[in-house]
Symmetry: C2
Subunit: 337 residues, 2 copies
Amino acid sequence: MMASGGEPPATKVVLLLVPRVDASFHAALRERFHVLDFFASSERWPLPAFLAAAAAAPEPPRAAIVVGAGLIPVDAAFLDAVPSLRCVMCLAAGVDFIDLDECARRGVVVANSGRVFSADVADHAVGLLIDVLRRVSAAERFVRRGLWPVQGDHPLGSKIGGRRVGIVGLGNIGSQIAKRLQALGCTVCYNSRTRKDSVPYKYFTNVHDLAVESDVLVVACALNKATRHIISKDVLEALGKDGVIVNISRGANVDQAELVRALKEGRIAGAGLDVFENEPGGPGELFAMDNVVMTPHVAVFTAESMSDLRDHVVANLEAFFSGEPLLTPVLPHSPVN
Amino acid sequence: MMASGGEPPATKVVLLLVPRVDASFHAALRERFHVLDFFASSERWPLPAFLAAAAAAPEPPRAAIVVGAGLIPVDAAFLDAVPSLRCVMCLAAGVDFIDLDECARRGVVVANSGRVFSADVADHAVGLLIDVLRRVSAAERFVRRGLWPVQGDHPLGSKIGGRRVGIVGLGNIGSQIAKRLQALGCTVCYNSRTRKDSVPYKYFTNVHDLAVESDVLVVACALNKATRHIISKDVLEALGKDGVIVNISRGANVDQAELVRALKEGRIAGAGLDVFENEPGGPGELFAMDNVVMTPHVAVFTAESMSDLRDHVVANLEAFFSGEPLLTPVLPHSPVN
C-alpha cells in the first residue's frame, strides 16, 4: 500500500521524456515517484546536459517514460548517457524507436502500452475506412462550403458490406479491427508473420498476395526492419486503382512518396491515414484531395485512453520498483501489434 | 420472361417523377416499361400540365416512381390528377410524403425500397457516430489547414466502447445500427412503438427516458405525425451537455431550430447529421462548428445500392403489372423503419 500524502521515496527516480502529459497523469506520477521532467524543466537544457545531470545525481533514475514519434530514440547512446536506467516505459504500443536488443543486452526491461489503446485505434481505423469509402469528410466539405444547393447530388460512395479487407498485422489491434469489420459485413483476410490458428480469416504469407485479393488494406503492424515500407510501390500496384489504404500504425510502414504518387495518378482509389512519414504535418500534396482522409496521429487519443494509460504506467513502474515482472513487457522480436 | 429487343408493351406505362436516375436504371426501366419521364421531358412542362397530359393519353400510366425529399407529395390532389394510377413505387424507405390512407382508399398500392438501403444507412450512421465522438472531420480540417505542426496536439476524442447509445426506431435500419454498435462495444438501448421481444437491448417506452439513459441518440425512425420533432427541446435537455445526436432518418424528426440552439449554447456536445429540415442546404449556423458532422442526405447512396435499387424497382413493377403482390408493400400504419 502507498502511504498517501508523504513524499515519494527518493529512490524511485523516473525520467519523464514526454512532451505532453495531462495534469492527472503528472499528479499520479509525482504522488509515487521522484520525477525528473525534461520537457517541463525550467532550465530548458539540451537533452544531453539534462541526461548527464540526472545520471550524476546521488540517486540517478532507474526508469524512463518515453514516447515515440521520433522524439528521443532509446538507443545505445541514450542508454550510455544514463547507465543507471533499468526500465523503459513506452507510452505507445509501437516501440520502433527503442533498440530492444541493446536494452536486453544491458538488462534494461521495456514495457509498452499493451492493450490500452487497441479498441480506440481499431475504432479509428474503422472510422477512416467508412469515411473514405462513404466519402464522409468530402461530403462534409461539400455541405460546409454551401455547394449542396448549388451542385446538387454529391458523388456516390462505395458499399462497405462485401468489401474484402486485408489486415496487415493481426495482433491485438488488427484483431479488434477484424471483429468490427465483420459486423459491417466485410470479408476479412490478413497477413502476419505467422498464421493464427484461432481466427477464421484467410491468411496470406505476404502482403503482395494479400493486396491482390483485397479492396482495402488496413495497416496495423508494428514498425520494424521487416515492415518498413511494407506498403511498397509493388503492393500499391497489386491493390489496384479501386483499392484503398488505411494506415493507423506508423507512417514508415508505407512508402509515403509512392503512396502520394499513386493517389495523384489515380493508381489507387483513396486513403485514410492517421500516421505519416513526416509528423507533425503530413503530405501537403494530398491536402486538396477529396479521396483522402487525414488525421493527426490521434487514433490512440481519447480522454478514456489517457486515463487508462496513466493507471497502466503507474502499475508497470510500481511493478518494476518492487522487483516484480512488468505487466506488459516487450522483448526483442516479440510481437507488439 | 421478357422478350428482349422488342418495344415494351404500351400498357405498362410508368410515370417517372425522380430527378436523378442513372443510365443503367433508365435502360432497365425503358427495356420493360413505357416511361413518361417528368424531369427529362424536353417540354419542361409544369407538373400539373405534365400529369394532365399523361392522364389524358390513350394508355394512361398505372404506376408512378417517386422519391421523397418533398419534391412531389403523393396526396389527394396528385392522385386526382392521374386517376389511372394504381401503384406508387417509392425509391426510399421513408414514405412520409405519401398519403397512405388516401392511397388505400383509392386502391393504389404503395411499395418502398424495402431493405435495399438498410446496411448502407447503418454504415453511414456508425461512420457519423465515430466521426463526431473521435473528431475525425475536425481533425481532417486541422491537418488540411496545416495547423498540426503549428498548434501541436488536436483535442482528445471520446472512446466509443462503453458509450450508451439509444436508438430511436428499431426497424431494419435501427437493428443493423445496433448490431454494428455492439461490435464497437457500445451499450445499445432503444425506443420504438412496441417492444421487440427478439432483441437483447433495453427498451424505453418514450424517447425522453431513453435520452436520460443515453450518451448518444441515433434517430432511425420513420417520419410521421407521431415522430415529427420527436427530438424536441425536452429530449435534447434530457440528453444533456455531453450528449450527441446522430440523425440518418428524416430532418423533421428533429426540431432543427432547437438542435441548432442547443449546439450553439453548448447544451449538447455534438451532432452527426445526414438529414435536415432544409434540404438541400442544411443549417448554415452549424457550418463553422467543429463538433458537428454534416453530410448531404447521402446515407443511402452507394454505387451498389443504386444497382440493387434498380433491380428492386423493376421487380416490384413487374409484380404489379402481372397482377401479383408487391415485394415490399407499405400499408397505412405499417412500420417502415
